[in-house]
């Protein structure tokens, strides 16, 4: 069964460093998403992406964050100059259509900022 895959599963970084989280969405999906979950808190929407551009972003997704689809398969989240409060689980998701079906989630990338 097709699935969304994320790498790395866990990354530890020093405050101020740049981090890139990678995702391979399901191959025939057209819409891609990043979510964040701080330990013990709710799953929060960060950004959605379609046709090589951002379609929605939340108030959390500030200039520190960027997304890219560098090739036909990968979807990346870049965090510039990480802060302690960026420590969280980051989930990638993909969907076939817009507002018509479910999102398929990856297993997440745990980011620890020291």
């Amino acid at each position: 069964e097709p699935e969304v895959t994320q790498t790395p599963s866990h990354q530890v970084t020093q405050m101020g460093q740049e981090v890139i989280l990678r995702c391979v969405p399901i191959s025939n999906h057209l819409y891609f998403y990043w979510y964040r979950q701080i330990l013990g808190q709710k799953v929060e929407f960060l950004v959605s992406f379609y046709n090589n551009e951002i379609s929605e972003k939340s108030e959390i997704f500030d200039d520190q964050f960027s997304v890219e689809r560098p090739d036909g398969s990968n979807f990346t989240l870049k965090i510039r100059s990480t802060k302690l409060e960026d420590s969280a689980m980051y989930f990638c998701a993909s969907s076939r259509g817009i507002r018509t079906g479910e999102l398929f989630f990856g297993e997440g990338s745990r980011l620890t900022v020291l």
Partner: protein
Amino acid sequence: SQELEQSPQSLIVQEGKNLTINCTSSKTLYGLYWYKQKYGEGLIFLMMLQKGGEEKSHEKITAKLDEKKQQSSLHITASQPSHAGIYLCGEWYNNNDMRFGAGTRLTVKP
């Protein structure tokens, strides 16, 4: 702003007991999604409800959408340890973002 409220926040039940989790929206629900999350893992899709009064079942889990009350409920019959986890309801917020409630943490005691 649009909010999804889930209740209860946590629930501990004895194996074999039935339980219900609720999800209420601040606006009329046009579609509601239920997901399950195990600790430290991704979200697994359970069910999608789109029509008022709709009810869906999968194994021992039944979900209903009451559009008039802006509410959905998830009912588990004869709970098992495998049902333990965090149950999240979600709905489309703007054009292309799905947002979730805070979740209900379910513990099933053997």
